[in-house]
Protein backbone atom coordinates (compact mmCIF):
# COMPACT_ATOMS: atom_id res chain seq x y z
CA UNK A 1 0.00 0.00 0.00
CA UNK A 2 1.22 3.47 -0.87
CA UNK A 3 2.72 5.47 1.99
CA UNK A 4 2.77 9.27 2.09
CA UNK A 5 4.92 10.82 4.79
CA UNK A 6 4.53 14.49 5.67
CA UNK A 7 7.32 15.96 7.78
CA UNK A 8 6.37 19.10 9.64
CA UNK A 9 3.15 19.14 11.68
CA UNK A 10 2.17 22.80 11.35
CA UNK A 11 -0.59 24.43 9.34
CA UNK A 12 0.69 23.17 5.97
CA UNK A 13 1.34 19.59 7.14
CA UNK A 14 -2.02 19.37 8.85
CA UNK A 15 -3.91 20.79 5.87
CA UNK A 16 -2.15 18.34 3.58
CA UNK A 17 -2.96 15.16 5.48
CA UNK A 18 -6.58 16.20 6.04
CA UNK A 19 -6.94 16.99 2.34
CA UNK A 20 -5.38 13.66 1.33
CA UNK A 21 -8.02 11.79 3.32
CA UNK A 22 -10.85 14.06 2.20
CA UNK A 23 -9.83 13.43 -1.41
CA UNK A 24 -10.22 9.73 -0.81
CA UNK A 25 -6.61 8.59 -0.45
CA UNK A 26 -6.75 5.21 1.27
CA UNK A 27 -3.04 4.48 1.61
CA UNK A 28 -0.91 5.00 4.66
CA UNK A 29 -0.34 8.55 5.94
CA UNK A 30 2.23 9.50 8.56
CA UNK A 31 2.54 13.05 9.86
CA UNK A 32 5.83 13.70 11.64
CA UNK A 33 6.22 16.67 13.97
CA UNK A 34 9.16 17.81 16.04
CA UNK A 35 6.97 19.52 18.64
CA UNK A 36 5.23 17.29 21.18
CA UNK A 37 1.72 18.58 20.39
CA UNK A 38 -0.70 17.95 17.53
CA UNK A 39 -0.83 20.61 14.80
CA UNK A 40 -2.11 23.92 16.13
CA UNK A 41 -2.91 27.42 14.96
CA UNK A 42 -0.02 29.80 15.44
CA UNK A 43 -1.69 33.20 14.96
CA UNK A 44 -3.60 33.17 18.29
CA UNK A 45 -0.53 32.06 20.27
CA UNK A 46 0.78 35.53 20.98
CA UNK A 47 -2.72 36.94 21.34
CA UNK A 48 -5.73 35.07 22.74
CA UNK A 49 -3.67 32.16 24.04
CA UNK A 50 -1.12 34.35 25.80
CA UNK A 51 -3.93 36.46 27.23
CA UNK A 52 -5.52 33.31 28.63
CA UNK A 53 -8.64 33.73 26.50
CA UNK A 54 -8.13 30.56 24.51
CA UNK A 55 -7.24 27.15 25.94
CA UNK A 56 -4.59 24.96 24.34
CA UNK A 57 -7.08 22.43 22.92
CA UNK A 58 -8.88 25.16 21.03
CA UNK A 59 -5.67 25.96 19.21
CA UNK A 60 -5.54 22.49 17.73
CA UNK A 61 -6.33 22.52 14.03
CA UNK A 62 -8.12 19.22 14.60
CA UNK A 63 -8.80 17.38 17.84
CA UNK A 64 -6.05 14.86 18.61
CA UNK A 65 -8.53 12.04 18.16
CA UNK A 66 -9.19 13.15 14.58
CA UNK A 67 -5.94 11.72 13.29
CA UNK A 68 -6.44 8.20 14.58
CA UNK A 69 -10.09 8.33 13.52
CA UNK A 70 -8.89 8.99 9.99
CA UNK A 71 -6.07 6.51 10.09
CA UNK A 72 -3.39 9.18 10.06
CA UNK A 73 -0.40 8.24 12.14
CA UNK A 74 0.98 11.15 14.16
CA UNK A 75 4.61 10.86 15.17
CA UNK A 76 5.27 13.74 17.50
CA UNK A 77 8.12 14.94 19.65
CA UNK A 78 11.12 13.98 17.56
CA UNK A 79 12.90 15.62 14.62
CA UNK A 80 13.77 13.70 11.49
CA UNK A 81 17.45 12.91 11.81
CA UNK A 82 18.19 11.37 8.43
CA UNK A 83 16.77 11.06 4.97
CA UNK A 84 17.87 8.80 2.13
CA UNK A 85 16.26 9.95 -1.09
CA UNK A 86 17.55 6.95 -3.06
CA UNK A 87 16.18 4.40 -0.62
CA UNK A 88 13.15 6.68 0.05
CA UNK A 89 13.51 6.49 3.79
CA UNK A 90 13.52 8.90 6.68
CA UNK A 91 14.73 8.28 10.21
CA UNK A 92 12.81 9.70 13.13
CA UNK A 93 13.17 8.82 16.81
CA UNK A 94 15.57 6.02 15.81
CA UNK A 95 12.97 4.43 13.55
CA UNK A 96 13.35 4.19 9.77
CA UNK A 97 10.24 4.73 7.65
CA UNK A 98 9.87 4.12 3.92
CA UNK A 99 7.83 6.50 1.80
CA UNK A 100 6.43 6.47 -1.68
CA UNK A 101 5.93 10.22 -1.61
CA UNK A 102 7.31 12.68 0.92
CA UNK A 103 6.26 16.22 1.72
CA UNK A 104 8.42 18.64 3.68
CA UNK A 105 6.35 21.23 5.51
CA UNK A 106 8.87 22.20 8.16
CA UNK A 107 8.11 25.90 8.20
CA UNK A 108 10.56 28.51 9.35
CA UNK A 109 12.59 29.52 12.39
CA UNK A 110 12.69 33.02 13.88
CA UNK A 111 16.03 34.73 13.59
CA UNK A 112 17.70 35.07 16.97
CA UNK A 113 20.09 37.73 18.11
CA UNK A 114 23.71 36.57 18.38
CA UNK A 115 24.88 35.41 21.79
CA UNK A 116 27.65 38.01 21.61
CA UNK A 117 25.08 40.79 21.98
CA UNK A 118 23.01 39.05 24.62
CA UNK A 119 20.70 37.05 22.36
CA UNK A 120 20.85 33.98 24.56
CA UNK A 121 20.18 35.70 27.87
CA UNK A 122 17.19 34.46 29.81
CA UNK A 123 14.13 36.58 29.21
CA UNK A 124 14.88 37.02 25.50
CA UNK A 125 12.02 35.54 23.52
CA UNK A 126 10.93 34.80 19.99
CA UNK A 127 7.36 34.12 18.83
CA UNK A 128 6.79 30.98 16.84
CA UNK A 129 5.90 27.91 18.86
CA UNK A 130 3.74 27.04 21.79
CA UNK A 131 6.93 26.55 23.81
CA UNK A 132 8.11 30.03 22.85
CA UNK A 133 4.90 31.59 24.08
CA UNK A 134 4.70 29.46 27.23
CA UNK A 135 8.25 30.60 27.99
CA UNK A 136 7.27 34.27 27.86
CA UNK A 137 3.99 33.92 29.77
CA UNK A 138 5.59 34.57 33.16
CA UNK A 139 7.40 37.64 31.90
CA UNK A 140 4.45 39.37 30.28
CA UNK A 141 2.90 40.87 33.39
CA UNK A 142 1.63 44.14 34.73
CA UNK A 143 4.40 46.64 35.42
CA UNK A 144 7.17 44.82 33.56
CA UNK A 145 9.32 46.68 31.02
CA UNK A 146 9.66 45.11 27.60
CA UNK A 147 11.90 45.83 24.66
CA UNK A 148 10.60 44.61 21.34
CA UNK A 149 13.26 44.29 18.69
CA UNK A 150 11.76 44.66 15.23
CA UNK A 151 8.72 46.65 14.13
CA UNK A 152 7.16 44.07 11.84
CA UNK A 153 3.84 42.33 12.37
CA UNK A 154 5.22 39.90 14.94
CA UNK A 155 6.76 42.68 17.01
CA UNK A 156 3.76 44.99 16.77
CA UNK A 157 1.26 42.28 17.67
CA UNK A 158 3.43 41.37 20.66
CA UNK A 159 3.54 45.04 21.64
CA UNK A 160 -0.25 45.26 21.57
CA UNK A 161 -0.74 42.20 23.74
CA UNK A 162 1.96 43.24 26.19
CA UNK A 163 0.25 46.64 26.60
CA UNK A 164 -3.03 44.88 27.29
CA UNK A 165 -1.26 43.04 30.12
CA UNK A 166 0.04 46.30 31.56
CA UNK A 167 3.62 46.00 30.31
CA UNK A 168 5.57 49.17 29.48
CA UNK A 169 6.67 48.64 25.88
CA UNK A 170 9.41 50.08 23.71
CA UNK A 171 9.67 48.92 20.10
CA UNK A 172 12.88 49.54 18.18
CA UNK A 173 13.09 49.31 14.42
CA UNK A 174 16.36 49.65 12.54
CA UNK A 175 14.74 50.74 9.27
CA UNK A 176 13.34 54.21 8.63
CA UNK A 177 9.88 53.11 9.65
CA UNK A 178 7.95 50.22 11.16
CA UNK A 179 6.53 47.73 8.63
CA UNK A 180 8.93 49.09 6.01
CA UNK A 181 9.54 45.70 4.43
CA UNK A 182 5.87 44.83 4.04
CA UNK A 183 3.76 47.97 3.76
CA UNK A 184 3.52 51.49 2.40
CA UNK A 185 4.33 54.54 4.55
CA UNK A 186 0.60 55.26 4.99
CA UNK A 187 0.08 51.89 6.68
CA UNK A 188 3.17 52.42 8.83
CA UNK A 189 1.78 55.80 9.85
CA UNK A 190 -1.55 54.27 10.84
CA UNK A 191 0.06 51.70 13.11
CA UNK A 192 2.61 54.13 14.55
CA UNK A 193 -0.28 56.34 15.59
CA UNK A 194 -2.29 53.39 16.94
CA UNK A 195 0.61 52.27 19.13
CA UNK A 196 1.31 55.84 20.26
CA UNK A 197 -2.32 56.09 21.41
CA UNK A 198 -1.70 52.98 23.46
CA UNK A 199 1.45 54.44 25.04
CA UNK A 200 3.96 52.28 23.21
CA UNK A 201 7.27 54.01 22.56
CA UNK A 202 8.31 53.34 18.97
CA UNK A 203 11.88 54.21 18.05
CA UNK A 204 12.55 54.01 14.32
CA UNK A 205 16.00 54.19 12.72
CA UNK A 206 17.16 52.69 15.97
CA UNK A 207 19.13 49.48 16.24
CA UNK A 208 20.19 47.37 19.15
CA UNK A 209 23.82 47.47 20.19
CA UNK A 210 23.45 44.84 22.88
CA UNK A 211 21.25 43.36 25.53
CA UNK A 212 22.86 43.34 28.94
CA UNK A 213 22.43 41.33 32.10
CA UNK A 214 23.92 38.60 34.25
CA UNK A 215 22.27 35.39 33.08
CA UNK A 216 19.02 37.22 32.58
CA UNK A 217 18.39 40.30 30.48
CA UNK A 218 18.14 43.47 32.53
CA UNK A 219 19.00 46.22 30.09
CA UNK A 220 19.59 47.25 26.53
CA UNK A 221 22.00 49.58 24.80
CA UNK A 222 20.51 51.10 21.66
CA UNK A 223 22.41 52.26 18.58
CA UNK A 224 22.00 55.91 19.59
CA UNK A 225 23.69 55.16 22.92
CA UNK A 226 20.47 55.13 24.97
CA UNK A 227 20.47 52.67 27.87
CA UNK A 228 17.13 51.11 28.76
CA UNK A 229 16.08 49.03 31.75
CA UNK A 230 14.47 45.86 30.40
CA UNK A 231 12.71 43.00 32.17
CA UNK A 232 12.26 40.96 29.02
CA UNK A 233 12.73 41.25 25.27
CA UNK A 234 10.85 39.89 22.29
CA UNK A 235 12.78 39.54 19.06
CA UNK A 236 10.79 39.75 15.83
CA UNK A 237 13.34 40.21 13.09
CA UNK A 238 12.14 37.76 10.49
CA UNK A 239 12.50 34.05 9.89
CA UNK A 240 14.67 31.67 7.94
CA UNK A 241 13.14 28.74 6.05
CA UNK A 242 13.76 25.29 7.53
CA UNK A 243 15.36 23.58 4.55
CA UNK A 244 17.89 21.22 6.13
CA UNK A 245 15.91 18.08 5.40
CA UNK A 246 15.61 18.95 1.72
CA UNK A 247 19.30 19.73 1.69
CA UNK A 248 20.06 16.32 3.20
CA UNK A 249 17.91 14.77 0.47
CA UNK A 250 19.95 16.56 -2.19
CA UNK A 251 17.03 18.68 -3.36
CA UNK A 252 17.68 22.10 -4.87
CA UNK A 253 17.54 25.07 -2.50
CA UNK A 254 16.84 28.64 -3.54
CA UNK A 255 15.58 30.96 -0.82
CA UNK A 256 14.21 27.89 0.95
CA UNK A 257 13.23 24.62 -0.66
CA UNK A 258 12.79 25.23 -4.38
CA UNK A 259 9.62 23.68 -5.80
CA UNK A 260 8.03 23.88 -9.24
CA UNK A 261 4.53 25.19 -9.92
CA UNK A 262 3.09 21.86 -8.77
CA UNK A 263 4.95 21.88 -5.46
CA UNK A 264 7.59 19.29 -6.38
CA UNK A 265 11.22 19.70 -5.42
CA UNK A 266 14.01 18.70 -7.80
CA UNK A 267 13.28 15.15 -6.59
CA UNK A 268 9.80 14.46 -8.02
CA UNK A 269 8.80 12.21 -5.12
CA UNK A 270 9.53 14.99 -2.61
CA UNK A 271 7.14 17.92 -2.30
CA UNK A 272 7.24 21.04 -0.15
CA UNK A 273 4.70 23.63 1.00
CA UNK A 274 4.34 26.54 3.38
CA UNK A 275 6.92 28.93 4.84
CA UNK A 276 9.86 26.73 3.83
CA UNK A 277 9.06 26.43 0.11
CA UNK A 278 9.92 28.89 -2.64
CA UNK A 279 7.83 28.62 -5.77
CA UNK A 280 7.58 30.30 -9.18
CA UNK A 281 5.31 33.34 -9.25
CA UNK A 282 4.94 35.85 -12.07
CA UNK A 283 8.41 35.21 -13.42
CA UNK A 284 10.07 35.31 -10.03
CA UNK A 285 10.53 32.86 -7.20
CA UNK A 286 8.89 33.77 -3.91
CA UNK A 287 8.24 32.40 -0.46
CA UNK A 288 5.07 33.38 1.38
CA UNK A 289 4.94 33.24 5.16
CA UNK A 290 1.21 33.09 5.71
CA UNK A 291 -1.66 30.87 6.76
CA UNK A 292 -3.28 31.28 3.34
CA UNK A 293 -0.19 29.98 1.57
CA UNK A 294 0.33 27.12 4.01
CA UNK A 295 -3.23 25.88 3.50
CA UNK A 296 -3.67 26.45 -0.21
CA UNK A 297 -0.27 25.21 -1.33
CA UNK A 298 -0.53 22.12 0.88
CA UNK A 299 -4.01 21.29 -0.39
CA UNK A 300 -2.90 21.70 -3.99
CA UNK A 301 0.00 19.35 -3.37
CA UNK A 302 -2.31 16.78 -1.79
CA UNK A 303 -4.36 16.82 -4.99
CA UNK A 304 -1.23 16.73 -7.13
CA UNK A 305 0.13 13.70 -5.28
CA UNK A 306 -3.00 11.76 -6.16
CA UNK A 307 -3.73 12.82 -9.71
CA UNK A 308 -2.99 15.02 -12.69
CA UNK A 309 -0.97 17.92 -11.27
CA UNK A 310 -2.33 21.46 -11.38
CA UNK A 311 -0.19 24.56 -10.86
CA UNK A 312 -0.48 26.33 -7.53
CA UNK A 313 -1.36 29.98 -8.09
CA UNK A 314 -1.61 31.77 -4.75
CA UNK A 315 -4.41 34.18 -3.96
CA UNK A 316 -2.58 35.89 -1.14
CA UNK A 317 -4.38 37.30 1.87
CA UNK A 318 -3.17 38.01 5.34
CA UNK A 319 -4.39 39.54 8.57
CA UNK A 320 -3.01 41.04 11.76
CA UNK A 321 -4.82 41.87 15.01
CA UNK A 322 -3.49 44.72 17.15
CA UNK A 323 -5.61 46.11 19.99
CA UNK A 324 -9.08 46.49 18.49
CA UNK A 325 -7.73 47.02 15.01
CA UNK A 326 -7.94 44.30 12.42
CA UNK A 327 -5.66 44.70 9.45
CA UNK A 328 -6.62 42.67 6.42
CA UNK A 329 -4.41 42.49 3.36
CA UNK A 330 -5.37 41.19 -0.07
CA UNK A 331 -2.78 40.62 -2.79
CA UNK A 332 0.96 41.22 -2.80
CA UNK A 333 2.22 44.79 -3.03
CA UNK A 334 5.67 43.91 -4.42
CA UNK A 335 6.65 46.37 -7.14
CA UNK A 336 4.00 49.02 -6.41
CA UNK A 337 4.67 52.55 -7.64
CA UNK A 338 1.63 54.35 -6.29
CA UNK A 339 -0.68 54.18 -3.29
CA UNK A 340 -4.12 55.67 -2.75
CA UNK A 341 -5.62 56.07 0.70
CA UNK A 342 -9.36 55.81 1.08
CA UNK A 343 -11.07 56.74 4.32
CA UNK A 344 -13.63 54.24 5.61
CA UNK A 345 -17.13 54.94 6.88
CA UNK A 346 -16.19 54.54 10.52
CA UNK A 347 -13.76 56.45 12.63
CA UNK A 348 -10.28 55.02 12.30
CA UNK A 349 -11.16 52.84 9.35
CA UNK A 350 -9.21 53.25 6.14
CA UNK A 351 -7.70 51.32 3.28
CA UNK A 352 -4.47 51.70 1.36
CA UNK A 353 -4.56 50.62 -2.28
CA UNK A 354 -1.34 49.64 -4.04
CA UNK A 355 -1.01 50.10 -7.78
CA UNK A 356 1.64 49.44 -10.39
CA UNK A 357 0.65 51.84 -13.13
CA UNK A 358 -3.09 51.39 -13.39
CA UNK A 359 -3.05 47.80 -12.12
CA UNK A 360 -4.25 47.09 -8.59
CA UNK A 361 -1.76 44.88 -6.73
CA UNK A 362 -2.90 44.86 -3.11
CA UNK A 363 -5.08 46.45 -0.46
CA UNK A 364 -4.33 47.01 3.23
CA UNK A 365 -7.58 47.56 5.13
CA UNK A 366 -7.64 48.74 8.72
CA UNK A 367 -10.95 48.02 10.48
CA UNK A 368 -12.45 48.29 7.05
CA UNK A 369 -13.45 44.86 5.70
CA UNK A 370 -15.46 46.08 2.74
CA UNK A 371 -12.55 47.45 0.69
CA UNK A 372 -10.56 44.37 1.67
CA UNK A 373 -13.20 42.08 0.24
CA UNK A 374 -13.70 44.25 -2.85
CA UNK A 375 -9.97 44.44 -3.48
CA UNK A 376 -9.53 40.71 -2.94
CA UNK A 377 -12.30 39.86 -5.38
CA UNK A 378 -11.00 42.25 -8.01
CA UNK A 379 -7.38 41.12 -7.73
CA UNK A 380 -8.41 37.47 -7.98
CA UNK A 381 -10.55 38.24 -11.02
CA UNK A 382 -7.73 40.20 -12.65
CA UNK A 383 -9.83 43.37 -12.55
CA UNK A 384 -8.66 46.76 -11.40
CA UNK A 385 -10.26 50.04 -10.45
CA UNK A 386 -8.20 53.07 -11.48
CA UNK A 387 -6.31 54.98 -8.80
CA UNK A 388 -8.60 57.95 -9.51
CA UNK A 389 -11.71 55.87 -8.89
CA UNK A 390 -10.36 54.62 -5.58
CA UNK A 391 -9.33 58.12 -4.57
CA UNK A 392 -12.76 59.59 -5.25
CA UNK A 393 -14.90 59.19 -2.10
CA UNK A 394 -18.02 59.29 -4.28
CA UNK A 395 -17.07 56.06 -6.12
CA UNK A 396 -19.16 53.04 -5.22
CA UNK A 397 -16.39 50.46 -5.23
CA UNK A 398 -18.74 47.51 -5.02
CA UNK A 399 -20.24 48.53 -8.34
CA UNK A 400 -16.81 48.12 -9.97
CA UNK A 401 -16.47 44.48 -9.00
Amino acid sequence: MSHIIVVGAGQAGSSMVVKLRNLGFEGKITLVGEEPVPPYQRPPLSKKYLLGEMALERLYLRPEQFYSDHNIELKLGNPVTAIDADAKTITVGGETLTYDQLAITTGSTPRQLPAAIGGTLEGVHVVRTLADVDAMANDVKDGAKALIVGGGYIGLEAAAVARKMGVAVTVIEMANRILQRVAAPETSDYFRELHAQNDVTILEKTGLTRLTGEGRVSGAELSDGTMLAVDFAIVGVGVTPNHSLAEMAGATLDNGIAVNEFGQTSDPTIWSAGDCASFPYQGNRIRLESVQNAIDQAEQIAANMLGEPTAYVPKPWFWSDQYDTKLQIAGLNTGYDQTVVRKGDKEGSQSVWYFKGDQLLAVDAMNDPRPYMIGKRMIEAGKSPTPAQVGDPATDLKALM
Binding site: V18, N22, R62, F66, V291, I295, W319, P369, M373, R377
Partner: protein
Amino acid sequence: MAKITYIEHSGTEHVVEVANGLTVMEGARDNNIPGIEADCGGACACSTCHVYVDPSWAEKIPGKEAMEEDMLDFAFEPDAARSRLTCQIKVTDDLDGLIVQMPEKQI
Protein backbone atom coordinates in the same frame (compact mmCIF):
# COMPACT_ATOMS: atom_id res chain seq x y z
CA MET B 1 -23.78 21.39 25.00
CA ALA B 2 -25.95 21.75 21.94
CA LYS B 3 -26.99 19.36 19.23
CA ILE B 4 -26.32 21.13 15.94
CA THR B 5 -27.33 20.01 12.47
CA TYR B 6 -25.06 21.09 9.66
CA ILE B 7 -26.56 20.66 6.21
CA GLU B 8 -24.23 20.68 3.26
CA HIS B 9 -25.35 22.37 0.07
CA SER B 10 -25.79 18.89 -1.42
CA GLY B 11 -28.32 18.14 1.32
CA THR B 12 -26.08 15.83 3.36
CA GLU B 13 -26.81 16.31 7.05
CA HIS B 14 -24.34 16.05 9.93
CA VAL B 15 -25.76 16.05 13.44
CA VAL B 16 -23.16 16.55 16.16
CA GLU B 17 -22.94 17.60 19.78
CA VAL B 18 -20.88 20.72 20.33
CA ALA B 19 -19.61 21.79 23.75
CA ASN B 20 -20.54 25.15 25.23
CA GLY B 21 -17.91 27.82 24.70
CA LEU B 22 -16.82 26.53 21.32
CA THR B 23 -18.05 28.27 18.20
CA VAL B 24 -20.37 26.75 15.62
CA MET B 25 -17.35 26.85 13.28
CA GLU B 26 -15.24 24.82 15.71
CA GLY B 27 -18.02 22.24 15.92
CA ALA B 28 -17.76 21.75 12.17
CA ARG B 29 -13.97 21.75 12.15
CA ASP B 30 -13.64 19.24 14.98
CA ASN B 31 -16.05 16.87 13.26
CA ASN B 32 -14.51 17.26 9.79
CA ILE B 33 -17.75 18.54 8.34
CA PRO B 34 -17.09 19.73 4.81
CA GLY B 35 -18.25 23.10 3.53
CA ILE B 36 -17.02 25.27 6.38
CA GLU B 37 -13.40 26.12 5.69
CA ALA B 38 -12.55 28.69 8.34
CA ASP B 39 -9.05 29.30 7.01
CA CYS B 40 -8.30 32.05 9.53
CA GLY B 41 -9.22 29.82 12.44
CA GLY B 42 -11.93 32.08 13.79
CA ALA B 43 -10.41 35.56 13.60
CA CYS B 44 -13.29 36.95 11.51
CA ALA B 45 -10.68 37.63 8.85
CA CYS B 46 -11.49 35.37 5.91
CA SER B 47 -15.26 34.93 5.54
CA THR B 48 -14.97 31.21 4.68
CA CYS B 49 -17.26 29.85 7.40
CA HIS B 50 -20.50 31.32 6.07
CA VAL B 51 -23.83 29.56 6.70
CA TYR B 52 -27.53 30.32 6.60
CA VAL B 53 -29.41 30.26 9.88
CA ASP B 54 -33.18 30.28 9.99
CA PRO B 55 -34.37 33.74 11.19
CA SER B 56 -36.35 32.04 13.95
CA TRP B 57 -33.02 31.56 15.77
CA ALA B 58 -32.17 35.23 15.65
CA GLU B 59 -33.38 35.84 19.21
CA LYS B 60 -31.18 33.15 20.69
CA ILE B 61 -28.02 34.07 18.83
CA PRO B 62 -26.32 37.35 19.67
CA GLY B 63 -26.45 39.74 16.74
CA LYS B 64 -23.77 40.50 14.20
CA GLU B 65 -21.06 42.98 14.91
CA ALA B 66 -20.13 45.46 12.19
CA MET B 67 -17.07 43.45 11.13
CA GLU B 68 -19.11 40.29 10.54
CA GLU B 69 -21.84 42.22 8.79
CA ASP B 70 -19.39 43.81 6.36
CA MET B 71 -17.58 40.55 5.65
CA LEU B 72 -20.86 38.76 5.00
CA ASP B 73 -21.84 41.35 2.45
CA PHE B 74 -19.20 39.83 0.21
CA ALA B 75 -19.76 36.18 0.99
CA PHE B 76 -21.10 33.86 -1.69
CA GLU B 77 -24.83 34.61 -2.16
CA PRO B 78 -25.34 36.38 1.16
CA ASP B 79 -28.80 36.71 2.66
CA ALA B 80 -29.17 39.65 5.02
CA ALA B 81 -31.74 37.83 7.14
CA ARG B 82 -30.03 34.44 7.38
CA SER B 83 -26.30 34.71 6.69
CA ARG B 84 -23.86 34.33 9.57
CA LEU B 85 -20.19 33.57 10.04
CA THR B 86 -20.03 30.48 12.21
CA CYS B 87 -16.80 31.59 13.89
CA GLN B 88 -18.77 34.41 15.50
CA ILE B 89 -21.51 32.21 17.00
CA LYS B 90 -20.66 30.85 20.46
CA VAL B 91 -22.37 27.63 21.44
CA THR B 92 -24.60 27.63 24.53
CA ASP B 93 -27.38 25.34 25.74
CA ASP B 94 -29.79 27.75 24.05
CA LEU B 95 -28.51 26.64 20.66
CA ASP B 96 -29.61 23.03 21.17
CA GLY B 97 -31.37 22.00 17.97
CA LEU B 98 -29.76 24.67 15.80
CA ILE B 99 -29.76 23.94 12.09
CA VAL B 100 -27.29 25.67 9.78
CA GLN B 101 -27.25 25.34 6.01
CA MET B 102 -24.16 25.83 3.94
CA PRO B 103 -23.93 27.90 0.79
CA GLU B 104 -22.86 26.32 -2.49
CA LYS B 105 -19.33 27.51 -1.83
CA GLN B 106 -17.27 29.73 0.42
CA ILE B 107 -16.00 32.77 -1.52
